[in-house]
């Protein structure tokens, strides 16, 4: 990211009929620290210029100073609504560079799919809850966060932390599922469909919600592609592009699921697509659950990447040395560069990882879906009311940890 190479922003200035309004960076409906400089003619938006960078964290730079495994901790904090998707994408990229993609055990792949889809539901829950609040529908927030809380409990069980479990690792997973996890997962799987019916019942046929979202923030398929929009926002414009189908990873090609699309391209279509996507995620979770009865390893059998089992360290000299080397200086990755993308809840999340053969990444470049989705705001905002701007931001579902990095 070179700051100086960006073209000068469109000039937002007061004219005879218009005034300039700054929305954000502290605003309840900008979903974080987004500032939008608006040129308005009474209530109508003439120009909108999103001003980002209020959460610039230097994550990519920080990662360059950490071992390959350590870098994952900062990377998880990029898209904080879907930390496991970030971790998964990064792990897949590093595995590709190491050339161990085929060696990842079957069970680890299945659990990765499971965790990824649970994350998707949890992330869409936050989106739906906050989108509802923006439009004055408060109660849906409580339903959404109740469901999210159940998923966070499962995340806490595997990783010890509610939001950043750091469970997906290069080479597999950080340990097998804990005892009793599958029983809790079964209980959740049983609970989710009823919850989804409630969520749909609260908003889908609500006339106020429909009035506020139908024909708002129209994105035609051509525009969406020109703005590089991906994820549910693109699929709501009728383009059935999903990384899980187009470039399958973690064995997604062996699962039976559909890509929900809508032709309308408005905020209501994006709402429906995300709800349908949650239903598809439940299907995927059920299928993954059925494959998990069979026990197996969850970490690659490669002492150069994976830590040796704790009980072997006292018995085997080699295991002790490998353990010491991996902890004190990490593993080295052969020189090269690689791009890997996954379907995060917001769209195509990609990591371009460069190695120069050291035990630390040389460069990590992210393709954050939120940022590309958010830039479409500039195209769809003019001509609409200020109040509708809130709907548009909400329907694009940006996460600023990811936009600003």
């Amino acid at each position: 990211m070179t700051m100086s190479a960006t073209p000068p922003p469109e000039i937002i200035a007061q004219t005879e009929n218009t005034m300039v309004l700054s929305m954000g960076p502290q605003h309840p409906s900008t979903h974080g620290v987004l500032q939008i400089v608006l040129e308005i003619d009474s209530e109508n938006v003439v120009k909108a210029d999103p001003e980002i960078g209020y959460l610039h964290t230097g994550i990519e730079k920080s990662a360059e100073g950490l071992f390959w495994t350590q870098a994952q901790t900062v990377i998880e904090r990029m898209d904080y609504l879907a930390p496991s998707s970030n971790a998964l994408c990064y792990a897949l990229a590093v595995e590709k560079l190491l050339g161990i993609t085929d060696g990842i055990p079957e069970r680890a792949q299945t659990i990765r799919v499971l965790i990824g889809e649970l994350t998707r539901i949890a992330s869409h829950c936050v989106w739906l809850g906050t989108h509802g609040i923006d439009l004055g529908a408060i109660s849906i927030f409580f339903y959404c966060f109740d469901l999210r809380e159940n998923i966070l409990d499962l995340q806490e069980a595997v990783g010890g932390a509610r939001m950043h479990p750091n469970y997906v690792r290069v080479g597999g997973l950080n340990g097998d599922l804990p005892e009793g996890y599958l029983a809790r997962l079964d209980a959740l799987i049983e609970k989710i469909p009823g919850r989804m019916r409630e969520l749909r019942g609260l908003l889908q046929a609500n006339p106020i919600f429909q009035d506020r979202t139908i024909d708002i923030g129209m994105l035609t398929p051509e525009e969406a592609l020109q703005w590089s929009v991906t994820g549910p926002s693109l699929r709501a414009s009728g383009v059935a592009y999903d990384v899980r189908k187009a470039f399958p990873y973690c064995g997604y090609q062996t699962y039976d699921f559909e890509i929900p699309t809508r032709p309308e391209g408005d905020a209501y279509a994006r709402f429906l697509v995300r709800l349908d996507e949650m239903d598809q995620s439940i299907r995927l979770i059920e299928q993954a659950r059925r494959r998990l009865d069979k026990p197996g390893p969850v970490m690659i059998d490669d002492p150069k990447v994976a830590l040796p089992p704790k009980e072997t360290i006292a018995l085997s000299m080699e295991a002790l040395i490998h353990h010491f080397k991996l902890i004190s200086e990490g593993f080295r990755v052969p020189p090269g560069d690689v791009y890997q993308s996954v379907e995060s809840p917001r769209g195509e999340l990609g990591y371009y990882v460069v190695s120069n053969g050291e035990n630390k990444p040389y460069r990590i470049r992210t393709r954050p879906p939120s940022m590309y989705n958010l830039q479409a705001l500039k195209g769809i905002a003019p001509g609409n009311l200020i109040a509708d701007l809130v709907v548009m931001i909400g329907s694009l579902d940006p996460v600023f940890g990811e936009v600003d990095r």
Partner: protein, 159 residues
Amino acid sequence: MTVSPGHFMLARLDDVARWAQSSSVWPLTMGLACCAIEMMSVTSSEYDIARLGSEVFRSSPRQADLMIVSGRVAQKMGPVIKRLYDQMADPKWVISMGACASSGGIFDNYAIIQGVDTIIPVDVYVPGCPPTPDGLLYAVNLIQQQIREGGRGGILARA
């Protein structure tokens, strides 16, 4: 002690004011990063910050008593936070939520202010990355305790 009609209680005005003040600490709606999601969880039915009288998140700093700095503070956001703090009416309190707001956390780099207490005074620090909602509830409890004991920011005790 039972108070029935016709009876009365004696108290110092200051104590009554502090009691009332501590039971309605209204936070500012200001989410920064990961911790903001946990700050939202605190208002959900599972944790229910309304039990402490703090569920009224105000979007205008002029109506808020408590600023929860929920997340990493970027260099670009620092002046904004300072300005929001200055816009809040006295008495006011600040919770620094999470490792990043308290000390920079794992982001020891050019982009992050190493602790929000370098720009505004902080009353309570909450550890964690992000802290659990219980941690934030406890911090609000501590703020209430501070108010009742007449610490910095009390209605009659302006430091």
